[in-house]
Amino acid sequence: MIEARGLVKRYGPTTAVDHLSFDVRPGTVTGFLGPNGAGKSTTMRMMLGLDRPDAGTVRINGKDYRDLRSPLHEVGALLEAKAFHPGRTARAHLTALAASNNIPRRRVNDVLGITGLDKAADRRAGKFSLGMAQRLGIAAALLGDPAVLVLDEPVNGLDPEGIRWIRNLLKNLAAHGRTVLVSSHLISEVAQTADQLIVIGQGRLLAQTTVAELSARSNSLEEAFFQLTEGSTEYSASNIAYQGSPS
């Protein structure tokens, strides 16, 4: 369970996250949707205690992330691909993280197996393709067998087979009672995995809904999404035309 209440994050004059409140429930995959720059990654960083909100709170299983006693057992996160030292092997990376939360070493082999990295485990992670880097990030997220998963654009860089793999993985994780939050800027991608949707634009909550409900609003899911996010994209078509014309 993730509960955000009145989250605000400002960077200088720009407000990246603007009084955002929502709930993410266990047992289902929740898609976190919004155009580029909507504030998805910033919100996820605040969930993990990496960025401090200017106002509001976000609680995971009722607690502030920084107060979790065994964070990797409670939350698994993939925030960016390649969040590892390029010179370290995949196994060394996972072994070090496992040690931090007293996770038994055999769990490293487990997550290497789950993510299909067994054969690449002793190669330097800096040589990994983006797809393999994403798998390593997911392996790290699964290390502590957490009840909550927070994944920022996990399908980035994955090939079609990898995308199908991650969809099944996420559905499986949710089916086992976990809370799964997955961000994306592509409604069509999220619709294949998620049931619940949180849609934001310019840091504000546009809708907390379900895929079924959203697709019933218009001819197509994509159309409904565009209607919802209209006016909250970073560069709308009219903006681009304006910037292109001589002044």
């Binding site: 960083r45 993990l48 205690g49 990496l50 960025d51 401090r52 992330y65 920084r66 979790l68 006693r69 065994s70 964070p71 990797l72 057992h73 409670e74 939350v75 996160a77 925030l79 960016e80 390649k82 969040a83 590892f84 030292h85 390029p86 010179g87 370290r88 092997t89 060394a92 990376h93 072994t95 070090a96 993280l97 040690a99 931090s100 939360n101 007293n102 996770i103 038994p104 769990r107 487990d110 997550v111 197996g113 789950i114 299909g116 790290a140 502590g144 067998d145 009840a147 793999w165 099944n168 993985l169 499986n172 994780l173 086992h176 009672g177 976990r178």
Partner: protein, 272 residues
């Protein structure tokens, strides 16, 4: 993909995290990157190599009476500290700056959200590794230097007053520089910037003093880390305008404490 491995409870939540587990993580991280071995190699080569080079080229016969009077065979065997301090300064900076440059810091802080605890664990592991390596190589450099120094030049032995103290302090000095660099790295977050700051403090600050005249050099110079190492820590023969060995060592500990305090404050306060 095995579904069994996905079932909750495949691993049991046990113990949580603390200083010990955070330090274990930092130790595993430190030894699983190549840069650590390279830095240790440069450190060893610098300390032993320069001790041999300087001591083998000491020609007692051609030295002036003044040079002979001030010749300190202990201090001279630690000429390699100029390279050694830079090597460990680089190591101390890399321990934190590579986390920021690679994005690893996000994974690290997700695992250990209490940031002061994380920096303390990093500092403890860094201090342990650099202190052990520093002491081993300080004794090595001293032994190698005395071995290649030719008679009739006077030799130092560990039994002479102040010599053991000088060797021990020579071994501890690079570890203190590593801790200062770690603190700077936690504030600056960029590898090149942090290393530049270390080089600036060690090598450039003393140069700035040069044109300012002898009185300022004498009064301010004795507080410069590199001059403390040369004139206070490793010297057995007392020199003018220098801190006592104890005061010099205390001063360096104070610098390290200040750097780490500012680093902790910066790490805890800023977004990662």
């Amino acid at each position: 993909m095995t579904t069994a491995a996905l079932t909750r409870g495949a691993t049991r939540a046990e113990g949580g995290y603390g200083f010990r587990s955070a330090a274990t993580m930092e130790w595993l991280k430190l030894r699983s990157v190549r840069s650590t071995a390279w830095v240790l190699l440069v450190f060893a080569a610098g300390l032993i190599g320069l001790a041999i080079l300087v001591m083998a080229h000491t020609h007692w016969a051609t030295m002036s009476p003044a040079d002979r009077a001030s010749f300190d065979p202990t201090e001279e065997s630690f000429a390699g500290l100029t390279i050694g301090q830079l090597a460990f300064g680089v190591l101390g900076a890399l321990v934190i700056t590579t986390e920021f440059s690679s994005g690893m810091i996000r994974a690290t802080l997700a695992a250990v959200p209490r940031r002061p605890l994380l920096l303390a664990a990093k500092a403890a592991v860094l201090a342990a590794v650099t202190l052990v390596a520093g002491e081993v190589l300080a004794f090595g450099a001293f032994a190698a230097g005395e071995l290649v120094l030719r008679s009739p030049a006077p030799h130092a032995t560990l039994g002479q007053p102040g010599v053991l103290r000088a060797v021990l302090m020579a071994g501890a000095y690079p570890a203190l520089i590593a801790l200062i660099a770690l603190g700077l790295g936690a504030v600056i977050r960029h590898t090149a910037g942090a290393i530049s700051a270390v080089v600036g403090i060690l090598f450039v600050l003393p140069l700035i003093l040069l044109p300012l005249g002898t009185s300022i050099q004498n009064s301010v110079g004795q507080f410069m880390p590199m001059l403390i190492a040369e004139n206070s820590l490793t010297a057995v023969k007392p020199q003018s305008h220098t801190l006592s060995p104890g005061a010099g060592f205390g001063m360096l500990c104070l610098y390290a404490a200040i750097a780490l305090a500012i680093g902790t404050w910066s790490l805890a306060r800023r977004d990662a």
